[in-house]
Structures are given as structure tokens and as C-alpha cells.
């Protein structure tokens, strides 16, 4: 194994930003407030501690204005949450999205290749993941592990890669002053990874990927549960079938396979570069053109994966899996529309309506009742189709069947009664609030922008409008269309410490209505 001497590496490392740029200014020197600041608002009750034994006092429901009346206001910022990001394309096809945030010291740099685990041919699960790892294994100019080290030397506080079903992303959050380093590294490995890749590097990262898989349980019963979920919900031809990584597939990968895969997918016309944070957009554009502009692809660009829009299942499918655990698990799932497609935002809001608050139907029926100890309701959105899932873990002494019955009863009430405008508005407001709070989070903003399609750039403002548009009628329609009763997957993980660590499918049945 070739080791780059750390000494050489750091001699060439970026200039260090000194701490001397930090100043503290204190206004007023910690003086006491002036008397006029201290007057309590008119009509305010005298403070005091809550009375003892308030148990059983009448509950005032849904009248929060009576908790604390306040006429004090701070206006919400007028106008859009942020300027629309700048999007343009280099001559070689690289899609660029820039979102400067004045005043921020750090910037998030993210390169998203439009290739994910769904793009690997059948029998080659893990090829996309291993290629992602190898993007950190150096080039003809960067030694092994040096990519990570260079980013850390540049002050990157986040630096990692990630493989999803749809894309492989590489991101760093580093001082905006060091942006050129991140751009050079991203461009250099896009251009020259294969020039430095050899069988030894592939073997070492293959071992790391296998370690990761074992550590995260992907090759054990957890992976089997996820595979059963996706395979149980999606049609046979769907690209997301069979994408859960298998150890044998990873072991089969050799240098030539990675070379082929990289050449096909890791190219400027199959990637999006996103920068969000404190940087000078003019200087950044120049640097992007200089670094990424000369990169050329090898061969033809791949056709993007396509899948027919998902439709609801025709019947109820029930899969039981033996898991090596101490508590059973229940997952109920439906195929749902793709990320940003019509119905996607509605299903996000439905997940909040069902379980976002203590009195929400599923949370009340499962957690507040003591039937379950864990509950998650989530729309897992992907580019080619999504899965809406209710996941629950029963309390001690309770069976998953009790949970399923309680879920069915709660969903039945929702289907017959629906959600009213007020509840829907509150749930949608939670999603709008979440988008607003994302304003501060550079990495989250970069990740969101990296999911941009040709027609839709998920800027903060557009995302806000997407959720603001969800109303009770839209929720009703989405519930009826996408979450039909008895046309779904019911996946049970049946636990015992003596079950095989790999898990085992015990039964797989279709229940015709």
C-alpha cells in the first residue's frame, strides 16, 4: 500500500485561517435593564407556582390563545426566504447551482452524480457504493486517503460521500475562504480518478465497504427487512428492486468493473455542482469554469433511468421475516408518487397529520395508549417513486397484530372522517416551518438543491409554496388514491435472539380482498 507522507501533504495544504478574525463587541457592558423595560404587560396575572394537586383540572383544548395572550409582535420577514439560486450549465454539460449566503463564514460544496444504487446492473449491488468510496482513494496526483486529508487540512468540518438509490453525492462544509480547494479536489477526482486507480485500492476499499455493511447490519436481517419492504411494494421491473447491497455482490467487484462504471456515470454531463454559503459568486464562477470546464467524458452519456409512475397495489401482501432481535417490528407500506410529483407534498403532510402530535390519530392509538414504544410515519421520497411507511415496535407483552388492528382502526376513522382544514393547515405549517428553519443549515440546503430536476429547483421559496398549497381537499384525495385500505404491504419482523443473524423470510402471501 502506498502511503503519502503526511509531511508532504501538509506542506502543500491550504493556508490556515487564523483565529484572530474573531472579535467580540459588547454593547452596554452588561448593565441592568432600564425601568421602562421591566413593566409587565397590562392585565398580566401575577406570577406564582402552579398549585399542588392540579390533577383533574379541566383541560382547555385547542385554545392556545388563552395560555398566554400577547399583543407583542415581531413581523415576519417580507419577501422571499432567499433569492432564487443561480443555475447554469457549462459547455461540457456540468449543471451548476450557486446560492451565496452573505455573512456566513462557511460554505457547503456538493457534487451530485446522477447515478445511484438503482443504476447498477442486477447482480452488482454495491458497485455504486464501492465506486463512491473509491472517489476518496486518490488520483494520479493525490495519494491514497489524501482526498480526505486535504479537505480536513482546508478546514472542512464535514466531508463525506453518500450513495442513494438515485445519486452519489460528495460534500464538504468548509470555510468559504477555502472554497477553491474543494473545487480543485472535486474537479480533479472527476477528471483523473481512473488514472490513479489500481487493484490494490479497489481491494482495500472493498474491505472497508464490507466492514461498513456488517457494522450497519445491511447484510443481516435489517437488510433483509429493507429488501422485503421495497421488493414487496414495487413492481417487478422497477429499478429500485434488488438495490439493497449484498456482501457477495461486493466481493465480486474488480478494478475493471469500477473502471467501466465510473466512465459511464462519473462525468460532467451527468453531475450537478452545488455551492451554498459564504462565498463570492463571481470568483466561484471563474474557479468553476477553470477547474471543471476542461473535463471531458469518455464515451456516450447514459440514458437516465426511467420507471412508470407507481400505482397502488391491487391487494394486500403479507411478508413475515424472522429477525435476530428482542422485539417484533411492524411495517405497513404503500407505493407512492416520486419526489416533487403531485401527491408527494400531500403525503409529507399526511405523515404529520397521522403522527406529528401527541393527539394525532396514530400516535394516540399506539404510543399514548401504551400499545407501542416506537412509531415512525414517513413518506420516503425518491426520484423514481416513493414508499409511504408506518413503522411501529410493540410495547412489552403486546403483539404486532394488536398494532396492526389499532392502526387499521385509526386509519379507518381518518378515511371516513378526514382531516379538517385547521388540522391540515397546522400540519402544512409544520412543513413550511421546517423549510424556513433550513435557511441556516448550509449542508441541508445544498442536499435539497442537489435533487433539482430539469423543471424544478427546490429553492427555499419554492419549497415553502409547495407545502403552503396543501389543503384538506388535496389531503383527502391523496389519502384515497395512495393509501387505500387492504391494498398495501404488511411486513412483520418476528423477533427472537435465536433467529439467524441474516434473517429469513418465513412467508410471503397475497391476501385477495
Amino acid at each position: 500500500m502506498r502511503w503519502t507522507p503526511v509531511a508532504l501533504l501538509l506542506l502543500a495544504s491550504p493556508a490556515v485561517v487564523s483565529a484572530q478574525g474573531v472579535t467580540e463587541e459588547v454593547e452596554g457592558g452588561g448593565a441592568a435593564l432600564s425601568p421602562e423595560d421591566l413593566a409587565p404587560p397590562p392585565g398580566e396575572p401575577e406570577p406564582g407556582h402552579a398549585p399542588e394537586g392540579s390533577e383533574g383540572a379541566p383541560s382547555v383544548s385547542a385554545q392556545i390563545t388563552e395560555v398566554e395572550a400577547t399583543s407583542e409582535t415581531i413581523p415576519a420577514p417580507a419577501g422571499p426566504l432567499a433569492p432564487e439560486p443561480l443555475r447554469y450549465t457549462l459547455d461540457n454539460g456540468l449543471d451548476v447551482i450557486l446560492q451565496p449566503v452573505p455573512g456566513r463564514r462557511f460554505a457547503a460544496v456538493l457534487v451530485s452524480y446522477h447515478v445511484g444504487s438503482a443504476d447498477a446492473p442486477s447482480g452488482w449491488s454495491g458497485l455504486a457504493h464501492l465506486t463512491e468510496h473509491l472517489m476518496f482513494s486518490g488520483t494520479d496526483r493525490l495519494g491514497e486517503v489524501e482526498t480526505y486529508l486535504q479537505l480536513e487540512a482546508a478546514g472542512a468540518v464535514q466531508r463525506n460521500g453518500e450513495t442513494t438509490p438515485d445519486r452519489s453525492i460528495f460534500y464538504s462544509v468548509l470555510p468559504g475562504a477555502q472554497l477553491r480547494w474543494a473545487l480543485w479536489i472535486e474537479a480533479h477526482r472527476m477528471a483523473r480518478l481512473l488514472a490513479g486507480l489500481d487493484a490494490g485500492r479497489v481491494a482495500r476499499q472493498r474491505a472497508v465497504v464490507l466492514h461498513e455493511g456488517w457494522e450497519r447490519g445491511v447484510y443481516g436481517w435489517r437488510g433483509l427487512l429493507t429488501r422485503s419492504l421495497y421488493d414487496g411494494v414495487l413492481p417487478a421491473e422497477h429499478p429500485y428492486r434488488g438495490i439493497v447491497e449484498r456482501a457477495d455482490d461486493v466481493r465480486a467487484v474488480r478494478l475493471r468493473h469500477v473502471q467501466y462504471f465510473f466512465q459511464r456515470y462519473y462525468a460532467p454531463d451527468n453531475a450537478t455542482l452545488v455551492i451554498v454559503g459564504g462565498f463570492d459568486p463571481g470568483a466561484a464562477r471563474e474557479a468553476i469554469e477553470a477547474r471543471f470546464g476542461p473535463i471531458v467524458r469518455s464515451g456516450r452519456a447514459p440514458e437516465p433511468l426511467e420507471a412508470a409512475p407507481l400505482v397502488a397495489l391491487e391487494a394486500e401482501r403479507r411478508i413475515d421475516v424472522a429477525i435476530q432481535d428482542r422485539r417484533d417490528r411492524l411495517r405497513i407500506a404503500w407505493p407512492t408518487p416520486a419526489l416533487y410529483a403531485e401527491g408527494d407534498a400531500e403525503l409529507d403532510v399526511i405523515s404529520t397529520l397521522l403522527a406529528g402530535e401527541r393527539q394525532s390519530p396514530l400516535r394516540a392509538a399506539l404510543i399514548e395508549s401504551g400499545l407501542a414504544v416506537e412509531l415512525e410515519v414517513i413518506q420516503r421520497s425518491h426520484a423514481l417513486g416513493s414508499v409511504f411507511t408506518i413503522e411501529a415496535v410493540p410495547a412489552e407483552g403486546r403483539a404486532v397484530e394488536e398494532l396492526r388492528e389499532a392502526i387499521d382502526a385509526a386509519l379507518g376513522r381518518v378515511r371516513s372522517g378526514g382531516f379538517d382544514e385547521e388540522a391540515t393547515a397546522r400540519a402544512a405549517a409544520r412543513w413550511v416551518r421546517r423549510v424556513r428553519l433550513r435557511t441556516e443549515d448550509l449542508e441541508a440546503r445544498a442536499r435539497a438543491l442537489a435533487t433539482a430536476t430539469e423543471r424544478y429547483v427546490p429553492s427555499l421559496e419554492r419549497e415553502r409554496r409547495r407545502y403552503e398549497a396543501v389543503d384538506a381537499d388535496a389531503v383527502r384525495r391523496a389519502m384515497a388514491r395512495w393509501l387505500p385500505a387492504r391494498r398495501r404491504l404488511v411486513l412483520r419482523g418476528l423477533a427472537s435472539p435465536s433467529h439467524p443473524a441474516s434473517g429469513e423470510v418465513l412467508s410471503d402471501r397475497v391476501i385477495t380482498p
Binding site: 502543500a12 491550504p14 493556508a15 485561517v17 484572530q20 474573531v22 467580540e24 459588547v26 454593547e27 452588561g30 441592568a32 423595560d37 421591566l38 409587565p40 404587560p41 406570577p47 402552579a50 390533577e55 383540572a57 383541560s59 382547555v60 392556545i64 395560555v67 415581531i74 420577514p77 426566504l81 456566513r104 463564514r105 462557511f106 446492473p121 442486477s122 447482480g123 486517503v145 480526505y148 486529508l149 478546514g155 468540518v157 468559504g176 475562504a177 477555502q178 477553491r180 477528471a191 483523473r192 481512473l194 488514472a195 461498513e212 456488517w214 473502471q259 467501466y260 463570492d280 477547474r291 471543471f292 476542461p294 467524458r297 428482542r326 401504551g370 414504544v373 410495547a395 412489552e396 441556516e440
Partner: protein, 483 residues
Amino acid sequence: MRALALLAVALLGCGLRPSLPAPRRPLAATPAGAVGDPPTEPMASTPFRLRLVRRELSNGLRVVLSRGEPNGVATVVFVSRATPRWGADVDPEVTSQMARGLFRAVQTDGGVVDDPMERELADPTVEALPEGIRITERLPVEELPRYLALLERSLRAAIFRPADLTRDRAPRLDRLRVRRRGPDGRIEAHLAGLLHAPSDPRARGLDERIAGLEGLDADALRRRHRALSDPGQAAIVIAGDIDPAAVLPLVGRRFSAWSGEAEPAHPVEAGYRGEGPRLLLVEEPLVRSFVRVVDRAPPFVDRDYAAFLVLEQLLGRMFGARLNLTLRERRSVSYGLHAAYRASAIDGEIELVTAVRPDRTREVVEQILAELRRVRGDGGGELEPLELSLARTRARETLLATLDTSEGLARAMARRVLAGQEPGAMGPLLRAIDGLDAAAIQAAARRWIRPDRAVFAVVARPDALGRVDELPLGPALRVARDR
């Protein structure tokens, strides 16, 4: 498409995979040098400036305000040292559960209102820290008046109903009992007791935590809550897109009438065991062995704090940590090793965690032991100047990154107020990090890290444990598999 999928399944069934096309030549179509040399000049830097307004209300409540990025978002952090988690005479579970129940229900003139925060879309994070309580909420700025009103009401008029306690506690207890039967729980049942002296409440294991939770009643929570109601021991820090001139009167009017006085709290300082077993071996037929090493570390008010921020990076917070590179890249025995340094105003702990191939468990434990000795400088162990430079950069920038958001800044400042430090005086800490050399770091390591006293916990198959047991780590506490 379906035919292709069926063919693939058939091939896989025979143990064959569809072959992939050969790569093209040249492998890299872009010529060497096309993207240029690495940059030599940094781009323009944004200086980091803290602008603070500090006031104290007549009731003693301290207020710290900092105006930040104009993005419509602010963070409010309330802290109080009146109810430390490690209080001298109070079960830590009482403090934790009181903190969890703070926003469950409040008394108003019109009756009891359930979940006041949730009704307003707020979702504050409440933490029972070793030295006090911290409540954090990030919110759109227009929600600030409302949130402050609800916060004040909850601090003053939260009620703790037995039925709420029963309902909230049940799933917690259930999860803890399930965890207790698993490998993590069997570590946690013993690990704290191996590190801390029996008289230190930190020595309580999972069984004691479960017992403490089971024994709680609502009166204990109410008593603990009364102690919290002392503005003289509390502070509010607000950072973000705020105008201090507008927010200060809001806080003043809302909180100046808040009253109450508690006995000064006496958090228990950490007490460490000096003798006894420190090797914990837990039998479990796992496909990977888990190794967890814990030792004492300084509180963040200690002179060695800056050195430990750098040591944390050196030991495994940064990818370039020697141990991580050795285990992951050079020896191929692990996905990686992670180090975490946790420091409060009164105590600290450093932890190294990794999952490894069972047949290499002993070797990894030896590697960790050797690394602990190296960072102390034992036997002439040295820190290379350039790994030190990398660790200092990472420590400094990680700290600066937390100050780059309203939430990180407000939380950091509130924690400093809790410890009696100047809230915004980050410069000295950053300069201290930059000024550390190898000798200073090794000296700090020697003051706290003791390879002959650190606790080593290993969960693994019996054959892997047997080889670890042979290491010179003293007598082992062995925990058999739960059947």
C-alpha cells in the same frame, strides 16, 4: 425488461453475474494537468464577529442577545444551574423526567392546557446537563414573542400530573429494559461503575437508572421544578436575525416578574475509581466485535479544554487520525474508529469506539492502548508536527462552525453562561488551540488519560474475548450471554 430481469435472476441462481463491458482506453479522457494545479491563494475570508448585548434583570436573570444573519431565523436558549443532573441530593432521573415533562401541561387562569408548545408548532429540546438544564428552540423570528410567553409560563406554571408521568415513563422504561437485555445495555449496566467511584452518582448503571425511573412520583418532579424557578441562577440567550433593541424589552417585560428562589445547587464533581477491574467483556455472538474505551477528561472550564479538543481529533474525530487510518485503511480490520470528547462545566469524558473483525479484536485493543500511550508521550511516543497541525485546524474550524449558526452560537454561549464564563469570549479559546504544541498536548493527556485506569469494554464472541482476556489489563468483569 422483464425478460432481462428474469435472465439476471437465472444467472445469479447459477452463481454467475451478467458480465460488464470492458472500460475504454484511455481510462481518463481528461489529460493530466487539464484542471490545473492546487490553488495557492485562499479566497476572501469572512471575518467572524460577535455582537453582543448583555443585561441583567432586577430578578437576577441574565440576558444575552446576538444579532446574526438576516434570514428570519433565531434561536432561544434558556439555561439554569438550579437543577444540575448530578445534583448532590437528587436522583438524576428526577431531574431528567422533570425536564421531559416541562412542556406537558401548564396551569392557566382558564384551566390546564396540554402540550402548550406543541400547539404552537414549537418543539423545544430540553437537556438535563451535568451542570444544569438547557432548553433550546430554533424558530422563525415572528414566533419569538409567543415562544417567550410560553416559555415563561411553562417555567413558572408547569404541572406534573401523575397520569402524564405514568404515560411518558412507560415507553422509556420499556426501551431501557429491552436495551438492558442487549449488548449495549449489558455494557451500560457495568461500564459507569468501573470508571467512577461508588459514591459518585455517575457510577449508576442501567439497572439503577431503571430503578430510579420506576420509583419516581409526580411530587418529586414538582419539588424539582420548584428548584428550577430561580431567575438568579438562569439566563436567556437569543441569537440570530434579531434586533436587540426590540427583543430586549420583550424579554424584560416577560421575565422580570418571574420570581422564585432556590437553594444554591451543588452539583457533584466527578469521582473516579482508583482500583478494581477495568476490563469489561460481554459475550455475544456478533459478526463484528465492538470495542469501547472510556477515560476521564477535563471539564470545559479547565485549562486543558483546548488541548482535549485537539486530542479528540488526534484520537479519532478526524478521518486523518492515525488510529482510524491504521484500522480502516492499512490493516483493513474496521470501518473506522471514532473518538468523542464530552465536556460539561463540571466533568468530562473521552471515548473511543470501533467495530472490528472478531479475529482481530485483541490486536485492535492493543492498538488503542498503544495510541493512548503515544498521545501521553509514554516511552518516547511522539506527535508529528503535521498531524498536530491537521488536528488543530479541525478543532478550531469545528468550533467556528458551531458559531456560524444561531443555534450553535446560542447553545455555546448559554453553556458558557451556565459555567460562569464570559458568553462571547471565544477568541482566547481559539488562540489557545492555535498555540498548542506537542509538548503541551501530551502534558494535558498525561494529566487526564491513564491507560492503566481507562475502562475497556468489548462485546464479542467467546473465542475473541478469550484472546482479549490475556492482555495485561488486570482482572476482567465477564458478562455471559443473556439467554
